[in-house]
């Protein structure tokens, strides 16, 4: 594994002329061409666009004009984001014959305006309904840390592409854990912001009540740089919070001194294996977090999130389930069908419970600024596995990987994932959870774990790498 310069250093190198944006793009495209056949992270490579964006950056530098903050940074997008000229798939063959998007999604526009260069769209679980990125129609995305294992999902293509060094950053979505699970499995840093913080305009929704968007990268600093560019109200998204930008980069180096940090016990220890518990304990020791607290009724929260997900996703796809069932992902088609049949009273009660759980959990933040929990119950599972063992209990793999992320996104709390490394040299992420709108604290703690030397996201070389 190799430690790459972070994107601040890369942007600085482009700014100084030590390396051109075009050289950075060509290097990324060469890596993708030579090694992604092993990983299967990209569903479309946007070489022409990336080169044009790079040339525009290099032209600005030659003219001696100021460069934008992410000049020369390469990124990919989960293929549920609109990219002008590409068909937006959301991992689904259902969408393959749709016309190409006419415009970029809001977040893609913001990254482009900041000087980032798009190298392609990446694979995901169909509709974002899954935690493994085992996609019947677009193939399984392999984990660069161990290609016998899944990358996690549903943003598996994003985390794998970043871990393999195919791009610096990836834009993703997280409904029940889809940024945090692949970050944990692939050993990347991820940020799931507060619900409604980032505009979802120009992305295919999955569960509008629960969908979040956010970045995956190889350091907390990179997350902060990108997140600060992505923030801001958007009239095109009626669900987007009309809040001013709250920059996180200026406070990143402040450390965690003075912050009150606790570990989540109870449910979060019950559904975590020894590796997961050890990762949280190491993070807690490094951050000076000795207390263990319980988030009450977490099991019910996870159940309510599951029901909302099934009901909203089922309703969304009902017409296609009726007309084109043969085009669906077989791994989730009947779950979607059942979701479309749920009594409305269950959905309303789940949303009422969500309100209660949010208010109950808010009490924890009277005593603590940050809460720590594993992002996944265990390290990445192997491709094709249908069951997993957690503390002697056998669970179905695909729906259970999100046991520890689902209750948190249910109430929209911001979470950063920092990847720690197990004795078996595979990653396992720790969730750093804050009160709403305090992404700055999540990122400060994730950065502190890097500074302490226990969280890191080196690039893994894969077969065929140049």
């Amino acid at each position: 594994m190799t430690t790459a310069p972070d994107i601040a250093a890369s942007a600085s190198a482009v700014r100084s002329g030590d390396v051109s944006a075009r050289e950075r793009v060509e290097a990324a495209l060469a890596r993708i061409a030579s090694a992604d056949s092993t990983i299967n992270s990209f569903t479309a490579v946007t070489a022409q666009r990336a080169r044009a964006e790079a040339d525009a950056i290099d032209a600005i530098r030659r003219r001696g004009e100021p460069l934008p903050p992410l000049a020369g940074i390469t990124y990919s997008v989960k293929n549920l984001f609109d990219v002008a000229g590409l068909t937006t798939l959301a991992g689904a063959r259902l969408n393959a014959a749709n016309p190409p998007a006419l415009h970029d999604a809001t977040l893609v526009r913001r990254l482009r305006a900041a000087g980032a260069m798009l190298v392609g769209a990446v694979n995901m679980d169909a509709y974002a309904y899954g935690f493994t990125t085992e996609n019947t129609h677009y193939g399984t995305t392999r984990n660069p840390r161990d290609i016998a294992r899944v990358a996690g999902g549903s943003s598996g293509g994003s985390a794998a592409a970043v871990a393999a060094g195919f791009c610096d950053v990836s834009l993703c979505s997280d409904t029940n854990g889809s940024i945090r699970v692949p970050s944990s499995f692939c050993g990347t840093f991820g940020l799931k912001p507060t619900f409604s913080r980032l505009s979802r305009h120009g992305s295919i929704p999955f569960v509008p009540s629960l969908d979040h968007l956010g970045p995956i990268a190889r350091s907390a600093r990179e997350l902060a740089l990108v997140y600060d560019v992505l923030q801001g109200p958007d009239q095109a998204d009626p669900a987007c919070a009309q809040r001013a930008i709250q920059p996180t980069l200026p406070t990143l180096e402040q450390g965690t001194k003075g912050l009150r940090i606790a570990m989540l016990g109870g449910y979060f220890a019950q559904w975590a294996d020894a590796d997961a518990c050890a990762a949280v304990a190491r993070a807690a020791a490094a951050l000076g977090a000795g207390d263990v607290v319980e988030m009450h009724e977490t099991d019910r929260a996870r159940a309510a999130a599951f029901v909302i997900t099934a009901a909203e996703a089922g309703a969304r796809y009902l017409d296609d389930l009726r007309m084109r069932p043969e085009d669906f992902e077989p791994l989730s088609r009947e779950r979607l069908t059942a979701g479309a049949m749920l009594p409305a009273a269950w959905l309303v009660q789940a949303q009422r419970f969500r309100r209660w759980f949010a208010e109950e959990t808010a009490k924890l933040f009277q005593d603590y600024d940050l809460l720590l929990a594993p992002a996944t119950p265990c390290i990445a599972t192997t491709v094709g596995s249908t069951t997993m063992q957690i503390n002697g209990i056998t669970l179905p793999t695909r729906p259970s990987i999100g046991l520890l992320t689902q209750p948190i996104s249910f109430i929209g709390l911001p979470v950063a994932v920092a990847p720690l490394w197990t004795p078996g040299s595979l990653p396992l992420g720790v969730q750093i959870i804050a009160a709403p709108w305090r992404e700055d604290l999540c990122l400060r703690a994730a950065h502190a774990l890097e500074q302490a030397g226990i969280a890191s996201s080196p690039i893994t070389k894969v077969n065929g790498d140049v």
Partner: protein
């Protein structure tokens, strides 16, 4: 009145009491969904699983003034 907790669990049938094949057939008819026997069997499995999960919060007493968490903004 509004402080009296209530749940909707008391009106729900248990999994053993519930006629899931009949429910799935009726809902498939309502939605004009054509399910072959293998799909119908799997939908029943999924319904049972979701019902089991739903019971975990349906039997939780919530005060009547707890509103659903909305996202709609006019």
């Amino acid at each position: 009145l509004f402080s009296v907790p209530y749940s909707i669990r008391n009106s729900e049938l248990t999994d053993d009491e519930m006629d899931w094949p009949g429910y799935v057939k009726a809902m498939a008819a309502l939605h004009r969904l054509s399910l072959d026997p293998s799909r119908e069997a799997e939908v029943i499995v999924q319904m049972r699983h979701i019902h089991t999960l739903a019971q975990r919060f349906l039997d939780f007493p919530l005060a009547a003034d707890v509103d659903p968490a909305p996202t709609f903004r006019p």
